[in-house]
């Protein structure tokens, strides 16, 4: 909400406290000031390196150069029809000022004004906003000749002084404005733009903020004096109220004022309303808005005579009731609204009058011809108002407040305050009494507060007297008997519960009133909980580290995708569907982590080398229940195997074996040894001859391989093959790892190469298994270092060359090695028909 400081000062003495101090105190107490807009008051100046605390905008008015002046005569301009010359007195001397203001044009050539007009006068050298510029542009008044007449000063519009954007006419100050007084002293202001949190709705008004400031500064809250005289017949003689549903409408109050004169409100009032973001309409509507901003109770003014006529000149009966499905009402904004049973209407015996708590209807609204006003102040169910305002897309100052909860006690105060302002600004006489239907009175919340509880929750030592003092500032009723403090919530608050919750509600107020900054900082003295750790999380973090160590970039992708996007690489079943997606391409929860990482790889296709992974959940639907969220690892590699440089030409592209090598390292890092790579039947579109399933301890845990050429075509990848992998982390994590190491021998190893020629159909893993089996524990490493095919070897044959490492707990001789080698060769010859290549 936007709050002019001048208004605040009606209710609390803020002398000696700067605008920034006020903003800081409020911000720390939970009423965050987003911006300070200066409209006349002096702005703080910051030196270089000095701290700005708040976003600050607006303009300060020069005290010497911008003053209250009076126009004594409006004269014709000798050379311009649309301009006038003003005879003006600024408190020191008479001036002639040029203006084109339309709102005094009608006085042109009428001679000396019977009553001078008070205006805001900017002298030569004053800095104001340029009224003709787009937006806010500062300009300094300089002497110039306009159509042959000297111009050096100006009577100002609201835009020129930074009050509103209005530049249609000049400001017409109230008659009592003291001529010659600095304008800043007269109406200089600053506006705090305050964010109101849901639990702070009670403070969305001037009194609320003043009350908070009173608590924060220890100064007195000057409550409004609601006093007026009444005359004529009592309102009860002419109006009655019937509430059909007290849950929806706990209270309805109405007052009557007769003989009002509709005209603009005093300028001071208009200005405050405008600074608070409210349009000034006329004195009656302004009175309802002014009382609302001041007290927090939205009011609604009916044209009493319209109601009277509708009632056939009989006693008016107002009825509040839920609307019928499909019922219609034309609201003040001219819209015909189709209503549902959720909406509440204020009606008379003829038909509906207004949409309760949200917006009035056109027929009974206050017009230029209104003479008598019936003023409504009510309490409505906040959930209902919230839904109604949302349903009809009618956010208003009234619905903002009602939808956050307004205490029924305010209905009466609000109506009285509104009547008081109407009487002051529109004359008229207030009818005695109020009609007040109050079928559902809220219970006053009463809470017991002890020093012990304050200590237990807040960690501060306070006596009950100190607690009472802190709460009294916020108008809690505090009674101390035998060191027991009983607290009753004030009549403007609906957010204080009872019991253990009420205690927390009250202790929050104790803490805020005491000041969060004064509460000490301590360390937890309570016992540490049992240490359990989080093995799943820790294992996944280890997995991430391993992946990073083998050169993989981690990515994190959206959980929401579309079946079409995933369909490029996997055939999918039922999805977990989002009921309110932001876009069709984010309409389901992903079923494939690999599809998500592939999309990222595709987006990065210009990169020289891509090796990326993601660890995350996919979502499997369970009908009308929470989905399963299994964890997956997906890897995508494509592009150059290593980085190029100015003297290193492009490396070959990643292929199947690059992925396999990394998977081997990964699984070794996870301490898995019993690993088998088998032909895969994956649900993913993989190349049938270049993909494999990974089995550990006999269990399938993942697949990897080259993307199927047809699947790859659906992406915008380059020529390089795209190698992918996906693992089921639940399965991978729950296998039995094997710990332990191969001891490092002090004896020197022997190395020997053997090459064999064998049938193409025999796999490398079969050969290696045979070598290891035959070689026994002396052969500690078997490394394939060459695969060779050529005509000399023969069609359907290949040559595999191995580097063998012999190692024993003694120094091995050539003879020792020869024995083992011969055994191996013989075994290979006999078992798989291999021939030693010489």
């Amino acid at each position: 909400m936007k709050l002019p400081i001048s208004w605040l000062k009606d209710f609390i003495d803020l002398d000696g406290i700067t605008v920034e101090d006020i903003a800081r105190k409020l911000t720390l107490a939970g009423l965050e000031v987003d911006e300070i807009l200066y409209a006349g008051l002096a702005m703080p100046t910051y030196g270089a390196g000095e701290k700005h605390e708040f976003k600050t905008n607006g303009i300060a008015w020069d005290k010497e150069k911008i003053v209250v002046a009076e126009i004594r005569e409006v004269k014709e301009h000798p050379n311009a029809d649309k301009l006038t010359l003003l005879d003006l007195y600024d408190g020191q001397q008479e001036q002639v000022v040029l203006t084109g203001a339309p709102n005094i044009f009608h006085l042109k050539g009428t001679g000396k004004l019977p009553k001078p007009i008070k205006v805001a006068y900017a002298k030569e050298g004053a800095t104001i906003y340029d009224g003709h510029a787009d937006g806010l542009v500062l300009t300094t008044l300089k002497r110039a000749k306009i159509r042959g007449v000297d111009s050096y000063s100006m009577v100002c519009s609201e835009k020129e002084l930074g009050i509103t954007e209005e530049h249609e006419g000049i400001i017409l100050l109230d008659d009592d404005a003291p001529v010659g007084m600095s304008l800043a002293d007269h109406i200089g202001d600053a506006v705090l733009d305050i964010s109101i949190l849901p639990n702070m709705a009670r403070n969305a008004n001037v009194i609320g903020i003043a009350r908070e400031l009173a608590a924060l500064t220890g100064r007195e809250l000057k409550k409004p004096k609601i006093e007026f005289t009444t005359s004529g017949a009592s309102v009860e003689d002419s109006v009655s109220i019937e509430i059909t549903n007290s849950e929806l409408n706990p209270r309805f109050v109405a007052g009557l004022i007769r003989g009002v004169e509709i005209k603009p409100s005093p300028y001071q009032i208009q200005r405050r309303l405008k600074l608070a973001g409210i349009r000034a309409i006329n004195n009656i509507v302004d009175a309802t808005n002014y009382a609302m901003i001041e007290l927090g109770e939205p009011l609604h003014a009916f044209d009493y005579d319209v109601l009277k006529e509708r009632a056939g000149e009989k006693k008016i009966k107002l009825i509040t009731r839920p609307a019928q499905e499909g019922e219609e009402l034309v609201t003040l904004d001219g819209e015909k609204r189709k209503l549902t049973s959720m909406n509440v209407l204020v009606c008379d015996e003829k038909s509906s009058l207004s949409l309760a708590g949200v917006m009035g209807g056109t027929e009974s609204e206050v017009t230029q011809n209104t003479r008598n006003v019936l003023l409504e102040g009510a309490a409505w169910n906040f959930i209902n108002i919230r839904r109604t305002a949302k349903q009809h897309n009618l956010p208003s100052e009234a619905s903002f407040r009602f939808s956050r909860g307004v205490h029924p006690a305010l209905a009466e105060t609000g109506v009285k305050r509104g009547l008081q302002y109407m009487a002051a600004w529109a004359h008229g006489s207030i009818a005695p009494g109020l009609v007040d239907a109050y079928p559902l009175k809220p219970k006053d919340s009463v809470v017991e507060v002890t020093s012990k509880e304050v200590k237990r929750l807040l960690g501060i030592e306070l006596t009950v007297e100190q607690i009472a003092e802190l709460l009294s500032r916020l108008e809690f009723k505090c009674e101390i008997t035998n060191h027991q403090l009983q607290v009753t919530a004030p009549a403007h608050r609906m957010d204080i519960d009872e019991g253990v919750v009420g205690l927390a509600d009250v202790l929050e107020e104790v803490a805020r009133s005491y000041g969060f900054d004064k509460i000490p900082t301590t360390t937890i003295s309570d016992a540490l909980p049992p240490q359990a750790g989080n093995p799943v999380h820790e294992w996944e973090e280890h997995l991430r580290d391993l992946l990073v160590a083998i050169g993989m970039q981690e990515v994190v992708t959206y959980r929401m995708t579309s079946p079409e996007r995933e369909g490029r690489v996997i055939t999918h079943g039922e999805y977990v569907r989002i009921a309110n997606p932001i876009a069709p391409e984010r309409s389901v929860l992903r079923q494939s982590l690999l599809a998500a990482v592939l999309e990222v790889a595709e987006k990065n296709v210009r990169a020289e080398s891509i090796a990326m992974f993601e660890v995350g959940s996919i979502f499997e639907p369970v009908k009308n229940d929470l989905p399963n969220e299994p964890r997956k690892l997906a890897i995508v590699m494509t592009g150059a195997r290593s980085a190029s440089a100015w003297d290193v030409k492009a490396a070959p592209a990643f292929d199947f074996y690059d992925m396999k090598g990394r998977i081997e390292l990964l699984l070794a890092g996870l301490r898995y040894t019993d690993i088998v790579y088998a032909q895969s039947e994956s649900t993913y579109s993989l190349h049938p001859g270049k993909s494999a399933e990974v089995k550990i301890n006999g269990q399938a845990v993942g697949v990897f391989g080259e993307l199927h050429p047809l699947a790859k075509e659906k992406y915008e990848f380059g020529d390089a093959p795209v190698i992918v992998a996906e693992f089921d982390l639940e399965k991978l994590r729950t296998l039995n790892p094997s710990y332990g190491i191969i001891p490092v021998s002090e004896f020197p190893p022997m190395y020997e190469d053997i090459a064999i020629i064998l049938d193409e159909s025999v796999t490398a893993s079969a050969v290696e298994a045979l070598i290891r089996q035959t070689g026994g524990k002396t052969v500690t490493d078997v490394r394939l270092f060459d695969v060779y095919r050529d005509e000399k070897i023969g069609a359907g044959k290949k040559s595999l060359a191995y580097n063998l490492t012999y190692q024993a707990e003694k120094t091995l001789t050539d003879a020792d090695a020869a024995v083992i080698r011969n055994k191996i060769v013989k075994r290979l010859e006999n078992t798989i028909g291999a021939k030693l290549r010489r």
């Binding site: 849901p198 937890i524 959980r559 987006k603 990065n604 929470l626």
Partner: protein, 352 residues
Amino acid sequence: MLDKLNEIEKAALEDLSSITEQSALDAWRVSNVGRSSPLMQVFAGFGKLSKEEKPIVGAAANRVKVALESALEEKTQAVKNAALAKSLSEEKLDITLPGREVNIGRLHPANQQLRRVLAILAEMGFQVYTSREVETDEMNFQMLNFAPHHPAREMQDSFYVESEGREDNPILMRTHTSPGQIRAMREAVATNPQNPPPIRIALPGMCYRYEQITARSEIQFNQVEGLAVGEGITFADLKGTLTDFARRMFGKDARVRFRASYFPFTEPSAEVDVECFVCGGKGCQVCKNSGWLEILGCGMVHPNVLQNGGYDPKRYTGFAFGMGPERQLMLRNKINDIRYFWGNDLRFLEQF
């Protein structure tokens, strides 16, 4: 003989002085101190000298030998130094050519930050607790003291999951990691219903809000919450714990302030601001001239939430706090577009 020795020495040293290369030095050594050199001939003819001459000539010959050898050694070093100096002056790289790149792996920046946060919390005794991302309305809202139609729900617009017959308890994408608070409390209560153990956990994970994807708003974001529940945990403890955390996270001199705020699941609630670490509090673009950065929301666990978790609010108290790792990174690294995170452009990721 002595004259001859002097001549040998003089001639040899003269020769040596003009030598500049190793090969010439080798030749000099052969001809001057080699086996058949004039000097060695003197030694070879030693036997022919008289008894009186022997010690005199011997001493002189030895002196010459030592002199020539040391001169050779000196010269060898000089030649070597000259050669090294020459090669050093010639072998000059263009040090401005770029270094050779190495493709390395990295964690996603959001997870790097998540780890920093969790590491600090772990040292402060908060153990990681993870829970599901798709939740029920009951766990995400109702148990956390968000009444149906409560205005606070508007602060957290949600993605709902299609389901039937669940109007009272629809399924949604969690809007915060707080449902994990209820799950963790209930698990702890199950271990000892009469005397539930204290809790100190960190809850990291992805959360979802119904937003349009723009530079300032995202549909998913990481959150880390902390929860401490026990007997005798106070708001002062909350202040102390978070002040410690902020100092670990943002530097030991980091100034913090606690600002009253509102969350349905805590009371009292506060926002924690840390003095802007970009400008040191003087006011800059990052802190929007306020000198403060909002980094944490926190508060004392609401009695209803304790109750829903199975902890008696008359006996137990607790505090909770939450923060966004991506937001922290954005502030720290002046990232002005939140879409970078899940955009996963390698040119962004490789900067972390």
